[in-house]
């Protein structure tokens, strides 16, 4: 199997043009989704708890 130069250029000019933008939009939606806020606040606080043993 050989991958032609033209095929790669076509792929990067079509799919390649949009997938990073799509991923970025996805990340922004996830980050700013209102219902996720609580989970993020909890995560930020979670490392400050005074405990040093695994939960069982």
């Amino acid at each position: 199997m050989s991958i032609e130069h033209g095929f790669l250029v076509g792929l990067s000019k079509s799919f390649g043009l949009f997938y990073l933008i799509a991923l970025s939009a996805g990340v922004l939606a996830y980050t700013f989704w209102p219902s996720n806020k609580k989970q993020f606040d909890q995560a930020a606080e979670s490392i400050l708890r005074q405990e040093d043993r695994p939960w069982t």
Partner: protein, 575 residues
């Protein structure tokens, strides 16, 4: 290697002097784990023997002997307590921190060694006679010894040690098993040792930051995949539903370094008995693959993993949650998306197609956004805790690291712009930029994290001496400043001299003219490096003394919940 020797020391005197771990490493392994360890060591011994025999006419044979001897020593070490009773299940109610402890000690050993060699290289540029007329000590050989020791030896061990620490705390789960972390640590340090000894014998692929030859590379692949599996398996056992952002950074570091390492090192050895190999790529493809690797090594080895460190240790030490968790997520994905495309800025004005250069330049410019998002997120976290920054040198290390992270990412973006690069490329400006990042950002955040972790790990109230932490901080900061300013001056003068033309259109200065102009800056640089080295030696001494302090503090910590967080007891006032 050092690990075995440290513990042999302990056995000879029959007490916990060398490296006080909770219990001997072997006693904590289950019978099954010990058996598996023995099998792996025997296998390693066979590989070493095979390398020694097949490569007897080549430096590969010397590495074979080294691997064989390491395997034998570890077999003896394992054998010394192979039949000791199995550990009780109490251990499962604690985090498994011994690998982190050993990783930190290794890291401090490598940093002293690596900085010492680095300073030697710096003096070598001041006075070329400092090779002492030997092949092994020539610039081309000891310079990669320096870079590998500090980046992979110091940085890598610190990343492994802190990642295990952070992974367990943020997941509220113990590491998935006890043997694979040791496999990673021992294997990784063996890789570093093979790499460094190889350079001295002239074994190198001549690819910057990917110098080790195929036999060392193969070892690292196995080690690295195991490291990633530890991460996944422990995360699968996590009790905390959300995966804290530090783990994302650490995982990106592990995963991407695996990809980079495998692709850039695709090569065919001359024969199974030779260290020399030829890359799968050639010409400009080879250059592009190398700098795709090289720049992402900066991105994912020297940035992503250390951001993981920063997002955990800085908030914990400051006693405040990160300023914006959302911003940390955006920075994370920004860095992972953008960095991948930035490598071609290392090849401006080369045979690389113009559009690929422009692509790299554009992505480098965009990278400023997630980089500054992280740097400002860290600094804004400190709002309301600046009095702690003033009093606590450990937190100050982390704060300065964030400042240097912001500075050097700005500088890097700037230098990636093609016309700027025409001035900066091939000059000492690049060296200055790298060290602003490596000393100011990477080493500072690492020292901060190590000073925070050591008392927590060894259950001490604080570091042995707060004054020594303070001394280390000022030596590190002044050393970095001297170094970076010297290289800025030197680099820009160099760049300007190389592009100054006479009226008749010929070059105004010869190369030797520029070299003479560099001399005072090279002296300044070597002094800056020396200051940084002295600081690291003080740090190593301080860590060692903290570890060696008898267990009075230990008893206290044993029956009380660990005084881990900086509401008071751990913060070291500057006196």
């Amino acid at each position: 290697m050092f690990w075995t020797r440290l513990n042999f020391g302990k056995l000879q005197v029959g007490e916990h002097v060398a490296l006080p771990l909770e219990d001997s490493v072997i006693r904590q392994l289950t019978k099954k784990e010990r058996r598996l360890a023995l099998l792996m060591l025997i296998f390693l011994g066979f590989i070493g023997a095979a390398m020694g025999i097949l490569g007897r006419d080549d430096p590969l044979g010397i590495h074979g002997v080294l691997v064989f001897v390491a395997a034998i020593l570890m077999v003896f070490f394992l054998g010394s307590e192979y039949y000791a009773p199995e550990p009780s299940n109490d251990r499962l109610a604690r985090y498994y921190d011994d690998p982190s402890k050993v990783g930190i000690v290794m890291s401090m050993i490598w940093v002293v060694f690596g900085l010492a060699v680095g300073d030697w290289v710096a003096w070598l540029l001041v006075d070329p006679d400092l090779t002492f007329d030997a092949a092994w000590s020539s610039f081309g050989r000891i310079r990669p010894v320096h870079t590998t020791s500090v980046i992979f030896g110091f940085g890598g061990n610190a990343l492994i040690a802190t990642s295990f620490y952070v992974l367990q705390r943020t997941s509220r789960a113990r590491l998935a098993d006890q043997l694979s972390p040791w496999f990673v640590l021992v294997g990784y340090n063996l890789f570093c040792l093979i790499a460094v000894t190889g350079y001295l014998m002239g074994v190198t692929q001549s690819k910057e930051y990917a110098e080790p030859e195929w036999h060392a590379d193969a070892l690292l692949v196995v080690v690295w995949v195991t490291y990633f599996l530890i991460y996944l398996r422990t995360l699968a056992r996590r009790k905390e539903p959300h995966i804290y952002v530090s783990n994302w950074y650490y995982m990106a570091f592990i995963l991407v370094v695996a990809i980079l390492h495998i692709v850039n090192n695709l090569a065919v050895p001359v024969s199974i008995g030779h260290a020399k190999s030829y890359s799968l790529f050639s010409g400009v493809q080879d250059a592009m693959t190398q700098w795709w690797y090289g720049h992402n090594a900066v991105a994912f080895f020297l940035t992503s993993g250390f951001l993981g460190m920063m997002y955990y240790y800085l908030p914990v030490r400051a006693g405040r949650p990160i300023f914006s968790y959302r911003l940390s997520i955006i920075s994370f994905w920004g860095i992972t998306f953008f960095y991948m495309w930035a490598g071609s800025h290392h090849l401006h004005y080369t045979a690389l197609p113009q559009w690929v250069q422009t692509l790299g330049m554009t992505f480098s410019l965009m990278l400023l956004v997630p980089s500054w998002a992280s740097a400002s997120n860290a600094l804004l976290t400190l709002n309301g805790a600046w009095h702690k920054v003033r009093d606590d040198a450990t937190l100050r290390f982390m704060m300065v690291a964030a400042v240097f992270y912001g500075l050097s990412t700005f500088e890097g973006t700037f230098m990636a712009i093609r016309p700027v690069n025409s001035l900066s490329h091939y000059t000492d400006w690049t060296i200055g930029h790298v060290h602003a990042g490596a000393l100011g950002w990477v080493a500072m955040i690492t020292f901060g994290s190590i000073y925070a972790s050591v008392p927590w790990l060894w259950k001490r109230e604080r570091m042995y001496s707060a004054k020594l932490v303070e001394a280390h901080f000022w030596l590190a900061l002044s050393g970095t400043a001297v170094y970076v300013f010297a290289m800025w001056n030197s680099g820009i003068i160099q760049g300007l001299m190389w592009r100054t033309y006479t009226e008749s259109g010929t070059l105004a200065y010869s190369f030797i003219d520029s070299l003479i102009a560099m001399h005072p800056y090279y002296i300044a640089r070597a002094i800056g490096g020396l200051l940084f080295l002295v600081g690291a030696c003080i740090g190593a001494y301080n860590v060692w003394m903290t570890v060696k302090v008898p267990a009075a503090a230990m008893e206290k910590a044993e029956d009380t919940p660990l005084p881990m967080f900086p509401t008071g007891i751990n913060v070291q006032p500057a006196e």
